[in-house]
């Protein structure tokens, strides 16, 4: 008991150095060193001890949990079998659960050597969050609100080192389930490094973990990998980005209909847009649910 009381007293001491120091009023505090956000150093999470821990977590915890909670149907793996080097996976983004679903759907040799581009302002704003996401998903910080050379340099250097990258071209989760315009990040990195872009369509994850939800729900999910595409000569990043968005839209169409219908619509230029109809919010919602065939219900 004495030892316990001593331990308790130790943790109850809240003065310096147990607690953080206060700053003399005559001193203007130095700006905090950039150790969070885009400046957070994630290199530790790509060393073998962290990779081993992450592999164990993904294979022995996340994958079985996903199978129970959100059994996924994975299609198109044959399209990425021929990949011999790193690739940029560019999925649509509707839920935080997307990353878990996608990581557990990737082939083993790719999964354990893939990093995830994550918003520096959201996932790396606190130290514990930065540590957590770096360890569990190999997340790297990406500046979403402005162009940041450090973010791009880090992603490019990792691709050059043989790491694949998951980057959500929309830059954030969809607010209503329809896709947002694809930004140029994935296209830029592909042009810069020569790594092909694998379009990926994710479905059902919004039912598992909608935006702003507090808990997980059971729902079936689908992961569809498309044929890797590369930048063609003379194509700028904006055009390439549009092509990536089109490829994901074709995968969505393929999921809603079948491959043959989707191919014919693609050839005819009539693939339904990922962004949904230009209509009022309730109609967009109505259209979304009728399209992907999920039961209509209220989000809390």
């Amino acid at each position: 008991m004495t030892a316990q009381r001593s331990l308790l007293r130790t943790f109850q001491r809240r003065s310096f150095p147990w607690a953080a120091p206060t700053c003399p009023t005559t001193i203007e505090p130095e700006p905090a060193e950039g150790t969070l956000g885009v400046d957070y150093d994630t290199s530790w999470s790509r060393r073998y001890p962290a990779r081993l821990a992450r592999a164990a977590l993904l294979d022995w915890v996340s994958a079985p949990a996903v199978r129970l909670l959100a059994p996924q149907r994975i299609r198109g793996l044959d399209r990425i079998e021929m990949l011999s080097g790193p690739a940029i996976f560019a999925p649509n983004h509707v839920s935080h659960f997307d990353t878990v679903i996608l990581l557990t759907s990737l082939p083993d040799h790719v999964r354990h050597r893939t990093v995830v581009a994550a918003g520096a302002d959201y996932f790396f704003d606190k130290r514990w969050k930065a540590h957590l996401w770096s360890l569990t998903t190999a997340a790297i910080p990406i500046e979403r609100t402005k162009v940041n050379r450090a973010s791009a340099d880090l992603a490019a250097s990792l691709l050059a080192e043989g790491w694949s990258l998951i980057i959500y071209p929309e830059g954030g989760r969809s607010p209503d389930g329809w896709a947002q315009p694809f930004r140029g990040g994935a296209a830029y990195l592909s042009r810069r490094t020569g790594a092909p872009v694998v379009p990926v369509y994710l479905e059902g994850t919004r039912e598992v973990l909608p935006k702003n939800a507090r808990g997980l729900r059971h729902a079936a999910t689908q992961v569809v990998f498309g044929t890797p595409i590369s930048n063609v000569t003379g194509e700028d990043a904006r055009r390439f980005s549009e092509r990536i968005e089109q490829a994901v839209a074709e995968l969505a169409d393929e999921t809603a209909t079948d491959w043959w219908v989707a191919r014919r619509r693609a050839r005819a230029g009539s693939t339904p847009s990922l962004r949904g109809p230009d209509a009022s919010p309730w109609r967009r919602r109505w259209e979304l649910e009728s399209r992907i065939g999920v039961p209509k219900r209220r989000d809390k």
């Binding site: 310096f16 150095p17 953080a20 120091p21 206060t22 003399p24």
Partner: protein, 528 residues
């Protein structure tokens, strides 16, 4: 861009201040209105030290030709270098001495010089161990010279190894190491950790005999050195300069090489020791708590060995070579640039936390005499202009001051503490009554020459280093010191800083100004 040093005025928001306490630390809350002097942050190291050394050797300062122009086949070349007392703590490999000496030897080899001897310029310090020599010089130099007897250590008591050069116009005997004096060229390799180091003091002190050293290592000289860090107001330096000029006039050629280090003093795990307390990160606080809690329960011997295994990440910031005085002028400016902190006005009470190491207890015990020397001889003298503490003020030291001595390194210190300090703490009285007998004692001389002992007279010199402070101060208090040992030194023991401040009020009144010297890392207060 490293931040300059500065003076903090303590207010209610100021966190407790770190005080060194030997092999431990104390966090003390200084009264509101006290000042704390923080050292400048470490300057950037030289990007390419080898290129800088080569450039210095090939483009010397003053009227010296490039080193290669001074080397020729058949000549006698002596390379002298600073001993284990520099730098503090010992720097991590490679030591700059080894780097510089390799560059010198490269040129000597290219010039076909065969007769090369390396001499550790010990003066009256203890001989270095083989491991210390190997660390200072690097394995390539050590293995090339030591097995063949060409790596030697200066012996100030070798009757055949000392030569009398002459007398200065002040009647000071100049005696030097014979090998060095009879060489065609002496290359002296310095580490200028503080402004006091280097210049003519390198050869005139490092390679001298007792008969020569006694002319400037005495109470009168020390009292009139204000301070040792200001060459132009230091009688110690004036004497050495007279000797150096006599040496030059006698035809002895010296090619001086001086290096400066930054104040990156402690490795990363002890990073909190050189940071400002309010900037301690969680890692720093955890490091401090872990270290201080562990050290509270660590036997002193183990704690000592842990601390003495620290290798400082010092890095070279400049290297100069050529004629002694021209080189030293540039070096001193570089040291000042790294260490100088402007301080306005003196203080009634100066507090200092004394660390585990001084120049004379590397890999050894910090005995009470060295505690006094570090506090009153070195830290007190870290000023230019005026002393930090006013005439008649109080110095409060923080150190455990154990009654403990290293029997091999400091044999004469033991007797000095028992026999001399028990009778007098007056530097002048002890110099006239006791110094000669300790300096000429055959047993101490034997231990100095054959063992790893400091010379018999060395504890006197340590006490003389305190002479200026003892002459200047009204009282000296040691916080946390062993009372018997502290009283033997003539100081007053106090259990806590609050007690010490209360005791000091007898001398400086109830509302004194207080200044804390936040060192190490080393700084130099420019007091106006």
């Amino acid at each position: 861009m490293p931040r300059p040093g500065f003076v903090l005025e303590v207010d209610r928001s100021t966190p407790p201040t770190l005080f060194w306490y030997g092999e431990r630390f104390r966090l003390e809350r200084l009264p509101t209105g006290s000042r704390v002097i923080y050292a400048p942050e470490p300057h950037a190291p030289l990007a390419d030290p080898d290129a800088a050394i080569a450039s210095a050797l090939d483009n010397p300062l003053g009227d010296s030709p490039p080193l290669s122009g001074l080397l020729r086949p058949g000549m006698r070349l002596t390379i002298a270098f600073d001993d284990v007392s520099l730098p503090l703590p010992p720097m991590k490999s490679p030591d700059v001495r080894g780097q510089v000496i390799e560059a010198v030897l490269d040129r000597a080899a290219a010039a076909g010089v065969d007769d090369v001897v390396l001499i550790a310029a010990l003066a009256l310090h203890r001989r270095m161990t083989d491991a210390e020599l190997r660390h200072a010089l690097g394995p390539r130099v050590y293995d090339a010279f030591a097995p063949h007897g060409f790596l030697t250590q200066h012996d100030a008591e070798d009757p055949d190894g000392i030569v009398h050069i002459g007398e200065t116009d002040q009647g000071e005997d100049v005696e030097l190491n014979r090998r060095a004096a009879e060489s065609d060229l002496i290359v002296y390799v310095n580490i200028n950790l503080v402004a006091m180091d280097g210049g003519h003091k390198s050869v005139a002190t490092g390679l001298a005999s007792y008969n020569s050293l006694r002319h400037h290592h005495n109470p009168a000289t020390m009292v009139h050195s204000r301070s040792f860090m200001d060459q132009h107001r230091s009688e110690l330096h004036s004497s050495n300069w007279r000797m150096g000029r006599l040496i030059a006039a006698s035809g002895i050629k010296i090619f001086q090489i001086e290096t400066t280090l930054n104040t990156n003093t402690f490795p990363e795990q002890f990073g909190f020791l050189q940071k400002r307390e309010w900037e301690w990160t969680m890692k720093d606080r955890a490091g401090f708590l872990a270290a201080s809690k562990a050290l509270q329960h660590t036997p002193p011997k183990v704690a000592r060995s842990i601390f003495h295994s620290i290798r400082a990440p010092h890095a070279m910031t400049s290297v100069q070579a050529g004629e002694v005085e021209a080189v030293h002028a540039v070096t001193t400016e570089n040291v000042y640039a790294q260490q100088m902190v402007a301080v306005s006005g003196q203080t009634d009470i100066l507090t200092m936390g004394l660390p585990y190491i001084s120049p004379y207890n590397v890999n050894s015990i910090m005995n009470p005499i060295l505690v006094a020397c570090l506090g009153l001889g070195y830290f007190f003298n870290l000023y230019r202009g005026k002393p930090l503490v006013r005439q008649g003020g109080v110095v409060i030291l923080s150190h455990p001051t154990p009654w403990a001595f290293h029997p091999v390194h400091h044999p004469s210190y033991i007797d000095f503490f028992e026999q001399v300090l028990s009778q007098t703490t007056d530097p002048v009285a002890m110099s006239t009554t006791f110094e000669e007998s300790y300096a000429r004692d055959p047993w101490y001389i034997h231990l100095y020459r054959t063992s790893n002992a400091y010379h018999g007279v060395h504890p006197f010199y340590m006490w003389y280093w305190c002479a200026h402070a003892l002459d200047h101060l009204g009282q000296v208090i040691v916080v946390g010191g062993e009372p018997r040992a502290v009283r033997r030194l003539g100081f007053k023991p106090a259990s806590t800083l609050a007690d010490a401040l209360e005791m000091a009020s007898d001398t400086v009144g109830r509302d004194p100004s207080i200044t804390h010297l936040h060192a190490p890392p080393l700084l130099l207060a420019d007091v106006t």
